[in-house]
């Protein structure tokens, strides 16, 4: 026992039900996945939990499973483990890129996609890529399970739809349609280790003639949450993704952005760059889709 300090418990439940019981019984307990955000916030005094509930010993939360319908990513599967999955890299190269951009190799050995989403940072690298791939959050709680699209999961910086007693169990990503591919790009000042100043993910579906039949565009670090930008997608659908379409999508992304000035970049800079990233990501996604016969 530490003199003068209430002990913080460490719990390692073996089942989702046990985890739900723990956080329901103690609202100040925090779910510990990779810890790459939580432990930093704890150390900085931003969060003062009464218990760390380590969910990495629950098989459902660390498993990565693929079936005909799509991919189930346990919320506590670490980024490195996801990146090692060849089918993830093949089917969702943009998502794989986003996962690979989470911090350093060391951080990837800890950081999880579930934690990345739950931490609800506007700059989270995976969120945009999940959104354009129509990912769903699988949530468990005292009143059972529910599903929420990723774009609706985060409600503001550090805030999500999770109710007391609920936890994110997994992310479900449907298998992409034929001739569909994604891409994610972010701008950081260094080549690694920075938080995104702006990010953009694009998914496009092409018909055999090369016309875009469906698209999703999401942008990050330019608003309180990652944004799905339907206007940018509309600018792409029905075109052959020529320069003017890409430019229109970029403009739409810039227009949708609601950035702020902070230590990492100015609002004007973010607005400009998110358009550039959108255009470039769309181009990469299109080339990938083109190669998918």
């Amino acid at each position: 026992m530490i003199p003068g300090m209430a002990a913080i418990r460490y719990e390692a439940p073996a089942t989702v039900a046990d985890a739900v019981n723990l956080i329901q019984a103690d609202p100040a307990a925090r779910i510990l996945a990779g810890g790459t955000d939580l432990l930093v916030q704890f150390r900085a005094g931003v969060r003062q939990p009464t218990a760390f509930v380590d969910v990495k010993r629950i098989p459902d939360l660390v498993d990565i499973a693929m079936d005909a319908g799509g991919l189930r990513l346990g919320a506590a599967a670490c980024a490195a483990a996801i990146g090692e999955q060849a089918h993830v890299r093949r089917l969702w190269p943009g998502l794989a890129e986003a996962v690979h951009l989470i911090g350093s190799t060391q951080i990837q050995g800890r950081g999880t996609v579930g934690g990345n989403v739950c931490n609800a940072s506007p700059a989270a690298d995976t969120t945009c890529a999940l959104i354009v791939n129509r990912a769903m959050c699988l949530i468990a709680g005292p009143s059972g399970e529910r599903r929420v699209p990723v774009e609706s999961f985060v409600t503001g910086p550090g805030r999500t739809v999770l109710a007391p007693g609920e936890l994110l169990v997994a992310l479900w990503i449907p298998r992409p349609a034929p001739r569909t591919a994604d891409a994610y790009l972010r701008l950081i000042p260094r080549s690694e280790m920075d938080i995104a100043v702006a990010g953009a993910a694009v998914s496009v579906t092409l018909d055999p003639a090369g016309t875009c039949t469906a698209a999703r565009v999401a942008i990050g670090a330019v608003a309180p949450t990652a944004l799905l930008v339907p206007a940018a997608a509309r600018a792409l659908v029905g075109t052959t993704l020529d320069e003017s379409a890409l430019r229109a999508a970029a403009d739409a992304a810039g227009a949708a952005a609601r950035p702020i000035d902070d230590k990492r970049g100015t609002a004007a800079y973010r607005r400009t760059v998110v358009g550039v990233l959108t255009r470039r990501a769309a181009k990469i996604a299109a080339a990938r889709a083109e190669n998918r016969r």
Binding site: Y10, D54, I107, G109, S191
Partner: protein, 160 residues
Amino acid sequence: MKLHINTTINGEPAEFLCDGHETLVSALRNTLGLTGTKEGCSTGDCGACSVLLDGRLVPSCLVLAPEAHGRSITTIEGIASGDTLHPLQRVFLEDAALQCGVCTPGFIIAAKALLDANPNPTEAQARFWLAGNLCRCTGYDKIIRAVLDTAATMNEAAAV
């Protein structure tokens, strides 16, 4: 109440007591006396505290000590075998890939994880893999060369 943790460190069973919020780097350094693992930032941004947890490269400042229960940890103290340095350790010395040396244990652990996963990395792969290990003395030049030289040496030895 302290937690009683049973774990494996550098191939040997180990046990220790810790608080629920104590970090693994603290338990290693302060409780177990394994001070070869360094703490440079406590936020996962410098790589000095790198260890292998069940073979995976992690920053031990962002691992809670109780998480080690039932797991296997490799630290810089467990890299050499007997009286023989690990090839990375030997080549770091030969290539003068260290100056102050405080980042060196983290680099060697991270480079070991790289070569375990990819025995033949390109310069770019080595640079990006090691981007989470800060060095302020060397400009990384001799470190990257040492990692690539080690890979070549180990591949040569394996081919013989």
